[in-house]
């Protein structure tokens, strides 16, 4: 019990003393996972829209693949990206292994199926007649998709949150393709594992607190955007 208590005290001190190493680690985590989430939106949302709105042969299989992708184990992704980026691998000449770029690539692969699957559900949930109505009001197909996205903004933002949550917390892939190199590819999750193994519990606790706070703040901002302008018009039924 004392171990936890001392650890917590030291951790709080460490956070407020603005330890430069901890700041670097935190910033890199944010940068890698933020970039990965951002990029995954550009693949995930169009893919989700396509799967939700366009009928084509093999659509069921594509949807099943995306749903499988939502539960992709990060270590498998890490292995896959490592194989491709390995010095002798097909993309070895890019010399990306053990760089933040490699970590972003791996996290995009983890995040985009989550974003695609959830945004597909968001679009499919909209009354198909609303599509007709928007087109009938004179919208181009692109304008229609934009309008539908605005109508589905709540579940779409949930998709973004789920994507970010998936990558900020994962460790298998960033460990494998990043290598946890001090000052270069060390992020919060990999640092927590390492410090715990070395018995530096106070640092591990400090990093964990930061990770939780960070996740909370990002979700707070997204939730604020999501719930903005929503009026509680139905009174709780139990009153």
């Amino acid at each position: 019990m004392e171990l936890i208590w001392i650890g917590l005290k030291k951790a709080v001190l460490m956070i407020f003393s603005l330890n430069p190493e901890i700041i670097d680690i935190t910033l890199l985590s944010l940068k890698v996972s933020g970039t990965a989430t951002f990029l995954s939106l550009f693949i995930g949302i169009p893919l989700g829209v396509f799967l939700a709105l366009v009928p084509f042969r093999g659509r069921q299989i594509a949807i099943a693949l995306v749903n499988t992708g939502m539960g992709l184990p990060p270590v498998v992704v890490g292995l896959l990206v490592s194989l491709f980026l390995w010095r002798s691998g097909p993309l070895g000449f890019l010399e990306l292994l053990y760089t933040p770029t490699a970590m972003v690539i791996a996290q995009v692969i983890i995040a985009f199926p989550i974003v695609a699957g959830l945004s597909m559900a968001a679009f499919q949930h909209i009354d198909p007649k609303l599509r007709w109505q928007i087109i009938s009001l004179g919208a181009t197909p692109f304008q229609m998709v934009v309008k539908l996205a605005l109508e589905a903004r709540l579940p779409l933002l949930a998709a973004i949150m789920a994507g970010f949550g998936g990558v900020i917390s994962e460790i298998g892939a960033v460990m494998m393709v990043g290598g946890n190199i001090k000052g270069q590819t060390r992020v919060l999750t990999t640092a927590i594992v390492m410090e715990t193994r070395m018995g530096h519990f106070e640092i591990a606790i400090a990093l964990s607190l930061i990770l939780l706070t960070l996740t909370f703040l990002v979700n707070l901002v997204l939730s604020y955007i999501q719930q903005r302008g929503k009026v509680e018009w139905a009174k709780p039924f139990w009153r």
């Binding site: 009354d127 007649k129 609303l130 007709w132 109505q133 087109i135 009938s136 009001l137 004179g138 919208a139 181009t140 304008q143 309008k147 605005l150 109508e151 009026v231 018009w233």
Partner: protein, 359 residues
């Protein structure tokens, strides 16, 4: 009424083996209110969606002002000159103002003009006070007004409506109907209006088409269609009343005198309109060889045009200076010795006539 603005030729829409629609010829004239009346599942809504290019016919052509509409670009530009209002309001999750402004914004209209035009449209439908209200707080009637405003603000050349009143209660429906018709005329709109309500059709239609099982089984002026159904299925659907268009020529003590065709009919009603539609159920009409001694308000000598068996009764179509129909039982038919081409006395009470104010 003006020239033909929209026409279809050999239009077919098929789902598997089944014809949902099969319309060899159809057109609507500029400024006309064309009502398509039909039971549920007759293909009415599908027809509107085909006209709006939201779906594509299995076969057939659509002409706009005499020109064949072909290709994506033409369909798009024509779609922007029409607007379809659905039975469900399908409002966006934003304020009433933003809902109505949507069509203008995506057309790149400048904000100043958007504001002006939206306010005007809100005023047409008497919902200016709702401009800043979120759409989901509206009642069904208000939502449908917003829905109408959202389409009307675009000043469509052709206005398509798919049972817009189906979800409203009876009093709102009546009010809505009156205001809509005034608005259609005021804006000189060409309207294609789909419904299964006969009263709506009678009130609105310049031209009426009956759609049953995907076939346009009869077309014409509403009173023509209602009085002379082309087939038994039409008769069954449009009801069996005699429907007459007339002009009010006098009113006295709750008794309205209406000029109809070459004759006159007295109706027990209150009436402010000049033009009216009179409905009379055939079972209210009594036929007799001699004038009726109890001297009902309306008594005329009529020529028998046609006699058709109709369930337990025979339906007798008469010309009394205006069309008239009566039901008689088989024994009565034989007793009166009725036959086509013969003359007979027809009488009905002033209270038996149902009056619909039209203009």
């Amino acid at each position: 009424m003006g020239k033909t603005i929209l026409a279809v030729k050999d239009l077919k829409y098929q789902l598997g083996e089944r014809f949902v629609l099969n319309i060899p010829n159809w057109e609507v004239a500029q400024g006309e209110i064309y009502v398509i009346l039909g039971p549920n599942g007759s293909g009415k809504s599908t027809f509107l969606r085909l006209l709006n290019f939201l779906e594509f016919p299995t076969q057939g052509k659509i002409f706009f002002q005499g020109n064949l509409v072909e290709g994506k670009a033409q369909r798009f530009s024509l779609r922007r000159q029409m607007s379809l209002v659905f039975q469900e309001s399908l409002l966006f999750n934003s304020t009433v103002f933003d809902n109505v402004a949507y069509g203008l914004k995506i057309r790149g209209v400048k904000p100043g003009e958007v504001k002006q035009r939206v306010n005007k449209a809100l005023a047409w439908l008497k919902i200016e006070h709702l401009a800043d209200v979120p759409a989901y707080l509206l009642s069904g009637g208000e939502a449908q007004r917003v829905n109408l405003a959202r389409s009307l603000v675009l000043k469509p050349l052709i206005f398509l409506l798919d049972e817009p009143l189906a979800n409203l209660d009876a009093p709102s429906r009546e009010k809505f109907l009156l205001e809509s018709k005034r608005l259609f005329r005021q804006l000189n709109l060409t309207v294609v209006y789909v419904t299964h309500e006969r009263e709506e059709a009678l009130f609105l239609a310049d031209h009426l088409g009956i759609l049953i099982n995907g076939y346009l089984v009869q077309e014409g002026k509403p009173e023509e269609v209602f009085n002379f159904p082309a087939s038994e299925e039409v008769a069954r659907f449009v009801g069996v009343e005699t429907v007459l268009e007339g002009k009010v020529i006098g009113e006295d003590n709750g008794l309205v005198k209406v000029a109809v065709g070459k004759g006159e009919i007295e109706v027990a009603a209150q009436c402010q309109a000049r033009k009216v539609i009179l409905c009379l159920r055939p079972e209210e009409v009594v036929l007799s060889a001699q004038p009726n001694k109890s001297s009902p308000r309306n008594q005329v000598k009529a020529l028998i045009k046609k006699i058709i068996p109709f369930g337990y009764f025979h339906k007798v179509f008469l010309d009394a200076g205006f069309p008239l129909a009566a039901f008689v039982t088989k024994p009565a038919l034989e007793e009166l010795n009725l036959a086509e081409g013969k003359e007979i006395w027809a009488s009905f009470k002033a209270t038996a006539v149902h009056l619909i104010e039209r203009e």
